[in-house]
């Protein structure tokens, strides 16, 4: 089998400064390498030409999961999907993120692939994206001119595109503290139970007050538009008493807000239908979750 990787140079800088320098020097010929589960396959099978690979896995600031002073968590971009899935902190305070990371590929892929790669590749179907959107996560982006923070909501711009420009690296993802009464869930529909791309993915997060009314809601959709997206009409419908009627309204709103294409995986109208079905499942699952604050 002739599936040769043909890049000509490989760098593994130890510091952020070196990585940024290499990225600037190499221009479009330089590609950042983290887990490699997308990039190496794209180079081998899809003819992606990348002359120089710049591995960012040795940069300690880009890895690991750590608490932030406000009780939120900072997940380095090169943290593997397996580590996110099994992190005790993530499982306790943001189980929706653990669940979304665990929905990707196989355990072998999750041991290599990184959360930063899942996000920065900007697939509209990326499983972690809806979860990060409903958690109000923020992207920490570094460049020669410093560090900036962009909300997940503003990060994705088109299929495969984000707000990041040449010379910038996604360093980490910050997830704010889990509020009291916060419950969230991710539901993915795919023909196969594993190793499959989401036909539709839906994440829901609800902040409940003492008597179970919803103070604030977040709804995010994957694979039904050019980018992972918030469904704000559905969010509004879920605020207040959560009952059959409000969930029905939310499902209808989200279906209307989705902008799905028809492709080999599903027709646009089927995707729209699925959005409604999955919203109901996700709300039910979120409500059933025990709350555990960070």
């Amino acid at each position: 089998m002739e599936k040769y990787l043909s890049f000509r140079e490989y760098y593994a800088p130890a510091t952020q400064q070196e990585a940024l320098q290499l990225l600037l020097e190499n221009g479009p010929a330089g590609r950042l390498l983290a887990g490699g589960t997308d990039l190496l396959v794209a180079m081998r099978d899809k003819g992606l030409g990348a002359e120089r690979l710049i591995s960012i896995k040795k940069i300690s600031d880009f890895g690991g999961i750590g608490w932030m002073p406000d009780g939120g968590v900072r997940i380095g971009a090169t943290t593997t999907l397996y580590e996110v899935e099994h992190s005790a902190a993530v499982k306790r305070a943001w189980p929706v993120l653990s669940q979304a990371a665990g929905a990707i590929g196989s355990v072998q892929i999750r041991n290599l692939g990184t959360i930063g790669g899942n996000v920065a590749n900007a697939s509209p179907a990326a499983d972690t994206a809806p979860a990060l959107l409903v958690l109000d996560a923020e992207m920490e982006i570094v460049s020669a001119s410093g560090r900036k923070i962009v909300s997940a909501d503003r990060f994705f711009t088109a299929p495969g595109k984000t707000v990041m420009e040449r010379g910038e690296i996604l360093a980490a993802i910050r997830v704010p503290p889990s509020a009291t009464g916060a419950r969230a869930a991710y539901v993915k529909f795919a023909p196969r139970q594993a190793m499959d791309i989401a036909v539709v993915g839906v994440a829901v997060a609800l902040k409940l007050d003492g008597d179970g009314r919803c103070r604030e809601a977040r709804v995010a959709l994957g694979a039904v538009g050019p980018t992972p997206m918030r469904a704000r009409g559905a969010e509004a419908a879920l605020v207040g008493e959560i009952d059959e009627r409000s969930v029905e309204t939310a499902a209808r709103e989200a279906s209307a807000e989705a902008k799905p294409i028809s492709d080999v995986r599903a027709s646009g109208s089927y995707r729209r239908h699925l959005v409604g079905v999955l919203i109901k499942r996700a709300v039910k699952l979120a409500l059933a979750r025990e709350h555990a604050a960070a």
């Binding site: 089998m1 040769y4 490699g36 589960t37 190496l40 196989s106 355990v107 072998q108 594993a194």
Partner: protein, 166 residues
């Protein structure tokens, strides 16, 4: 001839210092440099998991790991499962349960199972199925493989009974 980079890897407990090119994968190194051809190449795209090895104890697709990035790691391949000529309990269970047919997926399947039992010695049937979800087998229908893994584990779960083959 491309330039070689030197890497040191511990493969099945044995230390090797090897000259590799930047384009070599860990799979190339295992098969072509070390002659450990038990690890198979199926799709070379991360979809079939036939090339699964344990990297620092965790199952990964060796076709997606650059050899230069394997410098300093510990690798366990199918050749490292049996100890002093004695089959690993997993291998023994695969034989007992008839979990091997053509055999091409078996090394990857065993390494996934090994990785699973390392972190979860008492898996449920569902956990076993999730653990081998990436490993494609076109012969067995997986039932006997799942049974074999449960048999080798400390789990008390049993694989759902299946209709007797005619």
């Amino acid at each position: 001839m491309r330039d070689k980079t030197e890497i040191a890897v511990l493969v099945n407990g044995m230390r090797h210092v090897l000259g590799v090119t930047i384009n070599d994968t860990l799979l190339d190194v295992l098969r072509d440099h070390l002659g450990l051809t038990g690890t198979k190449e199926g799709c070379a795209a991360g979809d079939c998991c036939a090339c699964t090895v344990l990297l620092d104890g965790r199952p990964v697709n060796s076709c997606l790991v650059l050899a230069v990035e394997a410098d300093g790691v510990q690798v366990t391949t199918i050749e490292g499962l049996a100890q002093e000529g004695k089959l690993d309990p997993l291998q023994e269970a695969f034989v007992q349960e008839g979990a091997v047919q053509c055999g091409f997926c078996t090394p990857g399947m065993l390494m996934s199972a090994k990785g699973l039992l390392r972190v979860n010695p008492k898996p449920s049937e569902a956990e076993v199925r999730k653990g081998i979800a990436g490993n494609l087998c076109r012969c067995t229908g997986y039932v006997r493989i799942v049974r074999a893994i449960l048999r080798a584990s400390d789990s008390t779960a049993v694989c759902q009974p299946v209709a007797r083959e005619k």
